[in-house]
């Protein structure tokens, strides 16, 4: 088996790691903007598949298939995003005799378009949020507005082909409908090449809780516990955890059973995730959609189950049976895991993306820490793709210890050259609503001011001293510029060495 990883960034690196451990050779694909990206040098082979724009590279089925042919790859791992939920791609692989590591195209189609998916799962007895099940047709805006008034605001506008919060818009009241509709359509087109959107009632005090399911080709299908992803900003997940503070063993079993039914209703195979909205008060849960691929936040599930989900994906794609029964899962669930997403963005400037050159990257280490990163020191973060540069996940025996550990790990995580959300993440972990586990998808919006406050620090004098000493050394060294200069870097290093040798003592 040789696996081509049809993706980029941290997920491509993560998949390559498991392949390396399994002794399976890997092929990377890259656009012109990614030649120097970490995932390219993390694989045994690499093939250029086009210019920077994803629509001309990572989203081009033909180029990916050709890359397989060129390298003799007989399997493709799609990661998440890009072609991972594209049934045409899955079919193209099949036709080319390439194993697509994911569900069968039929299952992807059933679940791929949310409106169809809802019809399907409702038939399987899965509860859903009230809403218009059809995309709004050309010129159907007025009918849509009328319906919106019927089910009552606030409503959601969602991309029919969407997922991951992209192309989703909350509409608080009727007067915003038109502008939000236009934006939702544009974003949908940009993200999925399909501008259709549909209407859904927005549940109040909603919590986003999703169930990881796994099925093999022998009819076995189990759930692997939940992930709470209610810490979202503009429908982008920021922090995920498992177990969820509101999920009891009974609720877990019930949601798991429903999720497995949803999966079975489309003869699902491989790793999948059923997203639910849970009412924070009634604990009623509603099926939102099924993501027919590995999830960004899968590491928290791996940390609490001890599984390697990519290994399972590969084994299942080879026709293997699930090694665990549902009871094994329940018996093996352990401790608490929390994941924080590192974004190249500037929270102080309305989360403006900040692509650019990473001068230095220091990741956290030590007990219970897991890094999944798509960049390293010296990496370029291109402006063409998602701003997530990596994920920091931790495990500990209890939720409180896990949060303290994640905070410690974030303090060790330093990215220089570009602006990231690390400080913002630490503040989120300190929100008392989050600490209490009493939060919903509105948390970040409600806390936005607290999260951006600039509290005074006792270290101000130290900071001034550091700045002055640093500038002083700069000015001193400027004087020597003419001299045969060794590199900055080794100059610093020398200074460090001198000090290490006890300069002046």
């Amino acid at each position: 088996m040789k696996i081509l990883i049809a993706n980029r960034g941290e997920i491509a690196v993560r998949v390559a790691r498991t392949c390396r451990e399994m002794g399976i050779p890997t092929v990377a694909v890259y656009s012109d903007a990614d030649r120097a990206a970490l995932h390219v040098r993390s694989c045994d082979e690499a093939v250029r598949i086009g210019p920077a724009a994803s629509r001309e590279s990572y989203l081009l089925i033909e180029n990916v298939i050709n890359a397989c042919r060129k390298t003799g790859a007989d399997a493709v791992h799609p990661g998440y995003g890009f072609l991972s939920e594209n049934a045409r791609f899955a079919r193209a692989c099949k036709d080319a005799g390439i194993t697509f590591i994911g569900p069968p195209p039929e299952a992807m189609e059933e679940m791929g378009e949310k409106t169809r998916a809802r019809r399907k799962v409702i038939a399987a007895g899965v509860p859903v949020v009230p809403g218009l099940k059809e995309p709004i047709p050309e010129g159907g805006e007025e009918a849509a507005k009328k319906y919106a008034l019927e089910i009552g605001y606030p409503i959601m506008l969602k991309a029919a082909a969407g997922g991951g919060g992209k192309g989703m818009r909350l509409v608080e009241n009727p007067k915003d409908f038109d502008s939000s509709f236009a934006t939702a359509q544009r974003e949908a087109m940009g993200a999925f090449g399909d501008n259709r959107v549909y209407i859904e009632k927005a549940v109040s005090r909603p919590r986003h809780v999703e169930i990881q399911v796994f099925a093999d080709t022998h009819g076995n299908c189990i759930w692997l516990g939940e992930r709470e992803c209610s810490v979202q900003r503009r429908h982008q997940k920021v922090i995920e955890e498992t177990p969820s503070a509101i999920v009891t063993p009974e609720l877990r079993a019930e949601m798991g059973r429903v999720a497995v039914n949803a999966a079975k209703s489309v003869n699902y195979v491989g790793a999948g995730t059923c997203e639910f909205l849970v009412d924070g008060n009634t604990r009623h849960f509603y099926f939102l959609e099924m993501n027919t691929r590995l999830q960004v936040e899968h590491p928290v599930t791996e940390l609490c189950t001890g599984l390697d989900l990519v290994r399972w994906q590969i084994d299942v794609a080879r026709g293997g049976r699930l090694p665990w029964s549902q009871e094994d899962v329940v018996r093996n669930l352990r401790g608490h895991a929390v994941e924080a997403r590192l974004y190249a963005e500037n929270p102080a400037k309305n989360f403006l993306p900040s692509p650019g050159h990473i001068d230095e990257l220091r990741l956290a280490d030590g007990p219970g820490v897991r890094n999944d990163c798509g960049v390293e020191s010296g990496s370029e973060v291109p402006r063409f793709y998602d701003p997530m540069i990596g994920k920091l996940a931790v495990w500990a025996a209890t939720r409180e210890q896990a949060i303290d550990r994640l905070k410690r790990a974030l303090s060790e995580t330093v990215v220089k050259g570009i602006t990231t959300n690390t400080m913002y993440l630490k503040r989120v972990l300190d929100l008392e609503e989050f600490r209490r586990g009493d939060y919903d998808t509105g948390l970040l919006a409600h806390a936005s001011e607290r999260l951006l406050a600039q509290p005074a620090s006792p270290d101000e004098d130290l900071a001034l001293a550091a700045a002055a000493i640093w500038q002083f050394e700069q000015d001193q060294r400027a004087a020597f510029k003419s001299a045969p200069a060794a590199s900055d870097d080794s100059a610093w290093a020398r200074a460090g060495r001198l000090a290490a040798m006890g300069r002046g003592r």
Binding site: E187, D359, D459, L464, A467, I469, W470
Partner: protein
């Protein structure tokens, strides 16, 4: 060496001299003996008294420095006598006079919300730029009139490209 610093809106005078085993730093008259070690990547390991701190330093434009210590980023500005004089001569930048709105990062202009001659209020949206699949609305820094408009819908723009001028 003598520096004029601004931190959290306050001006400070910071003097640095080398001394055996490190530096003497005097901040508004308060002396601090600091042992500093330079780290790869330009950071500093400071020991002042018994306090130990790792300082990561991110230099910005015209004297701006971000200093990361623990869980706080200290944003400050540091000028020596000469730069200070130049600065004084130049006068501080403010929302008075014509304001130029530049592209804050490389991206694509998806919408232009104004045309030349429009009266705009402070905070009013002018242009929407998309990067990394996110839309970002650029707002007017002041009330005034659109005197120049270079942003074109659909055009790719580099970071710092002039988009609009409000007079």
């Amino acid at each position: 060496m003598r520096y004029h610093a601004t931190i959290r809106g306050e001006d400070r005078v910071v003097e640095v001299t080398t001394r055996e085993g490190g530096y003497r730093v005097v901040i508004d008259g308060r002396a601090l003996d600091v042992d500093a070690v330079h780290l790869k990547g330009g950071g500093l390991s400071l020991v002042a008294g018994s306090r130990s701190a790792r300082c990561d330093i991110q230099p910005g434009k015209d004297g701006k420095l971000d200093i990361l210590i623990g869980d706080t980023i200290h944003e400050l500005e540091l000028l020596d006598e000469r730069k200070l004089r130049m600065r004084k001569a130049g006068g501080k930048f403010s929302a008075e006079g014509p304001q130029r709105i530049d592209a804050p990062m490389p991206g694509k202009v998806v919408r232009v919300l104004v045309k030349v001659g429009d009266e705009v209020t402070e905070g009013q949206g002018l242009v929407v730029v998309e990067a990394m699949k996110m839309e970002n609305e650029l707002k007017s820094p002041k009330a005034g009139k659109i005197s120049e408009l270079l942003a074109v819908e659909g055009a790719a723009v580099e970071s710092g490209a002039k988009l609009v001028v409000v007079t």
